[in-house]
Amino acid sequence: MIVFQAGILLFTLFLPQEGEGSASIQKEANFALALTLELGFDNFAEQVIESSLKNATGQEDRGLLLLRRCEVRKVISGRSADATERMNALHSAGTAYMEFLNSDPSTSLKTQAQTALGEIAFQFGASLTQLLADGKILGEEKAAKLAEAEVLFTEALSGLNDLIRWWNAISDEEERDSSRFATFYPASFYKALIYYYWALIYEPGTIERSENAENALRQLEDFAILVGEMSRAGLMAYKHMGDCYAAMEAWEDAEVFFMHVIDNGIPDESQLDGPLSPREITQRFEAIQDSYLGLTKMYLEAGQPSAAAQVSQDFQARAKKEGFKVNHSGYRLLLSSADGLILNGQYSEAIAVAQKVADANEQSLLRLEANEVMARAIAAAPSNAMIDFNVLYGAAEGAYHKKDYRSAFNGFRLLLGRLSHSTKADDYLGKTYYYLGRTLTKMDRRLEGAVAHQRGYELAPTDEEWASRNAKGWRTLAETFRTSAPDDAVLSMFYDNALRAETASGETTPDIALMRAAKSDYNNAKQAAKQAIGKDLSSQEVRKAVTAFQKSIASFQRIEKNSSSYEDAYVKIALSHFHWGDFDLSQAKKAAELFTEYLDVWVPNPENNPMDAKGRKVRKDSLVRADFYRGRAYRKVARAGDLTAWNQVIQAYEGFPQRYPDQTDFSNASMTYRIEGFIALDQRRNAEAEYDALLATKPKAIWVNSGSFSIYRYLSAKMDSAEGEQNEELKRASATYLHSANTHAAKPKWQNIVTEARYRHELGELATTTKLFEGVLARFGDEPTFDMNARFFVEMELVDTYLEQDQAGIAGPIINKLLEQKPKSLRVKSAAIKVKAGFPVIRMRQVVEIPGEGTAEAYEKSGSIIAELLLLAEASANNAEVNKWLFEGFWEAKLQQAYLLYRWGKIDSSYKGKHTSLISSIRLLAPDLGESIAGPDHGQIFRWLEIQP
């Protein structure tokens, strides 16, 4: 939608001057306007004006009141964030202005009203054409709206033409100048836009569309010349000329005008007398953004989606570079890019972009558009994708309040599909079904509305806030069904059930009020506990938390045994003790006792069986919570140091997944706690068996991560005291579990991947090691914790791994970079020589040459590095007070030096034979060629080199 928002031509209607009406009427009129402007009491304001109109006798008084009514309606139209509502409000305001103009007002008031009517008319045109384009106005309604538009446009143009004629006839230059900005420019601009929107309401290719668009073009061209082609108003005119050409399907002409604004909207400094003010720049960027959007839309209409996508990208690149503030057009371009992300399978990124647009435009139509994009992304996302329910719910509820019932219906149903299997379902089920029921009722699908309310009540009867609303909605609709077919037994039963539900969930039922108060105390206590975690036990925060839990327990104890909420209260008391256990371990033990009493004594007693839907739901929820938190209470005790409690954890959670097959999150958590227990008791096989059982349950990644990381930590700790094959086996298993933890982590840590890579390296899994190190460098390059130092070590280890796999060539670029970054590092130098000159190794008792870069340049560089290495080795030997010939590092450098000379001699005859000379001289000083210091392989390579030509 193209909305005029430049601000440059918006004119405030001035209040009439004293003397243009009687004092009391003026007071009433001003009061009415204030009611709307300051308090938002729109209906009241209209009533005040209507009532005053009845008492107004003089023409001036009547005119004043009519003008105020216009202004009230104009304010209302500007406030509306719903497209249809806004269009109707604009029409209402337009009608008021037309009525005012027909009341023969004074010249000054008439001028203001004619200008305002022009503005209202083009804004009405903008709203109407957008709704038509969206297919939201069809059939008879469309015909009626088009007729309304014709009347409004005709009247508005008549007034604007009067103003333009009047201004052109002014001979007094001073008067002409003073009214230029207040009257002439707005009238000219509004006239053009009215013609433009008038064109759009006709089908493309029709004569009417062409004629109106050409009228608009002529007017805009004149206007641009008058106001200055490079002025902000001129830019706006050119942008609208682009729109006009697009409406006429003259794509190339349209492109020229849009591109002109985009390219020249911010003039070069050389074209300016002085710098542009920040406000001026902002407004020029608004015109530029409008043009980007206009161009994008034009390309789409012209059947060139790829060009449209390119414009969107260009816009984003420019916005990033120039950092201007985004306006509505810019946001719409962002939403179109979010649509592109959806097509690309990047659902969470698309949701994030749309969410940010929605957040930045709370009170605007853009919010709805962003919600629609979000809904599309969520609908397209895989069923196991992580989606923020708040986003989904907010989008659907927002659509409901905006009366966009189709979107609301789709949104709420989408949410219901995602809620299954979620532990957060209880937070959303009641209200989602309630609004789904309301939405369906608004869509005149009352039967389904009643069914939605019924399910909402039955699935969430303990949701105090929404259960009663659902029950009421259900009963209200069921009552109408029963009345329509009094003899239908099924409908009668449907009504009776609804009535029972409404009674059970009634606001006035005492225990519901008590439960609500107790839950509030409980939530307050948990909040206080959060503040107290980590604080000294004698601190004020801890004391406050303890007092809050005591209050919560006392509140729940007020629920009587005969209440359907009793079991909920019972379990909440135990949960209060459980959380209190963070500050006093005896309370965790007390919690475990209470849970056991509930599970083993209360529940098995048939006298306590729940009698109604609410009671059954309470029982179902309470059972699983009691069972789960009993284990957690034991775990709390165990983690505090009582190792015997781990047995209780294991026993408490035995068979939990089978007891509650639909509680996947609780079940998976219980299995990870059993794994912890087995580990604490040093029962590796049991822990691994439990882990396998966990994997078989289709767990979310978080649980696999948790279970595998626990086992990894346990095994890696054991590795420290193990040797030989046992150490090897533990290392292999550690690597496997750590790999599983890493691949299932929501945000894997590079440190853990590096640890896995090191294990793989030690296990000889060089290809995997390489892949892991490469992955770390590619994925974590921008992460702050992955600093220069960390990167250096990972790159060095990667180079070492490449070399071990005889891949010196691949290591080249990395080692060159490291040589620049750390020219003094011994480790870098040693690796660099191997990469550049190659190196010999012993394999199967044979000398094998691993090729390096092998160029003259590489050998040159290696020669200087070896010289430095030899000096460093000598210095290290001196520091250790050891003869350099007895120092292993020195021998390694010497061997590399001999090998370098040998390779160099292959490509440069001046080096030929130099390696044998070197070895001969070494042999004079150390006849075994360092074998006793650096090992037999070292000696064997030296002897091999000695006989090479």
Binding site: L343, S383, R445, L447, D488, L491
Partner: protein, 361 residues
């Protein structure tokens, strides 16, 4: 008002092609080629080679306009226009992926057309046959061969169709192209069995310890497969469960199907909305058959109001709800209202033509 820079950090380069991998990660670059062995992307002068078994799907940053327009026509079931635009896209292809993909989508458009006009089945078969002969080792060959098998079945040669699908199963296994491809081929084969009035054979392949449903249940919960693969397998499982319901209905009638669905719906929390909705519709039809019209009406209303299932199931439920409402003297809602809903919201579904007839349009 907000500055744009923070948004841009979240917006990747849309113009690039993207390979979505089975482990959930992705590689971006410019598409170069795709075979059953490897998918090749270019990044500047560098080539990135990804084993085809690691690839879930490929998306393209810049699509030719004709291709985009063709997809839009196909979404609206304007088959002839879609096929023409796919041909235009293939003829003017610049990027290496466009011609094979446009030709494949053209064949798939013909196949979709066959559901409305049986005469198109031969054309679809011919298009798929030509495609598979031209690109026997292409990454999209399994997709094309499944389409070819469907077209073969529609043309009446069911034996060849099932053999072609077995070849896809073998190919997916041998080339390690992933369990989702095997699952899709097996599921399609069962659909063809049912279509060929071999419901018993379809049931044997779907049910039991070694049946497709058990296999998909195991695989979709097996964490050795990445979440994205498991998601595909879960969807195939839902389709297989619904198909088994149809198969049982064909063999044992509505009462047999009712037993099957009651058993399945006893655990609604673990079922997909599609399965729950399909089962609830069958229960509604069984209730209708037993003369319990009001009960059937409420069951169908539950589907249309609260179960976010796919378009075909929703259209079916709305249509049936319309019929029941008519039988209940349009109380509490007129049947025509639901027929109109089918037309408005699912105009391309197979139920739309029936709804149109009911409305006398």
């Amino acid at each position: 008002m907000l500055f744009l820079a923070p948004f841009l950090l979240a917006v990747p380069f849309l113009a690039q092609d993207r390979v979505l991998k089975t482990d959930g990660s992705s590689e971006v670059g410019t598409f170069a080629s795709a075979t059953l062995e490897t998918v090749l992307l270019r990044r500047g002068k560098k080539e990135v080679s990804i084993p085809s078994g690691d690839v879930l799907r490929i998306t393209f940053g810049k699509k030719p306009d004709a291709f985009v327009v063709a997809e839009a026509f196909l979404a609206k079931s304007e088959f002839q226009n879609a096929i023409h635009q796919f041909e235009v896209a293939a003829e003017n292809a610049k990027a290496p992926w466009v011609a094979p993909m446009a030709e494949l989508r053209g064949a798939e458009a013909l196949l979709a057309w066959s559901a409305h006009d049986a005469n198109r089945a031969e054309e679809a078969l011919s298009a798929f046959t030509k495609w598979t002969a031209t690109h026997p080792d292409h990454f999209w060959a399994p997709q094309a061969r499944i389409g070819q098998a469907k077209a073969t079945a529609l043309s009446g040669d069911l034996d060849s169709a099932t053999r072609q699908l077995q070849e896809v199963v073998d190919l997916a296994f041998n080339q390690k192209l992933g369990p989702h491809l095997e699952g899709l081929a097996k599921l399609t084969r069962c659909q063809i069995y049912l279509q060929a009035n071999q419901a018993t054979l379809a049931r044997q392949r779907l049910e039991g310890a070694g049946g497709l449903i058990t296999t998909l249940q195991d695989q979709s919960s097996d964490t050795q497969y990445a979440a994205s693969v498991r998601d595909l397998l879960t969807k195939q499982l839902a389709n297989a469960q619904v198909l088994l319901g149809d198969v049982i209905e064909r063999i044992d009638g509505l009462s047999g199907a009712q037993r099957y669905w009651k058993g399945l719906l006893a655990h609604p929390g673990v079922l997909s909305p599609d399965v729950e909705a399909a089962g609830t519709i069958v229960l509604a039809l069984a209730a209708q058959e037993a003369g319990k019209l009001r009960e059937a009406q409420f069951l169908l209303a539950k589907v249309t109001a609260t179960l976010p299932s796919g378009p075909d199931i929703q259209a079916r439920a709305l249509f049936r709800l319309g019929e029941i409402c008519e039988k209940l003297d349009n109380n509490p809602a007129p049947g025509r209202f639901y027929y109109q809903e089918v037309l408005t919201n699912y105009p391309t579904s197979t139920w739309a033509s029936q709804a149109r007839r009911k409305l006398g349009l």
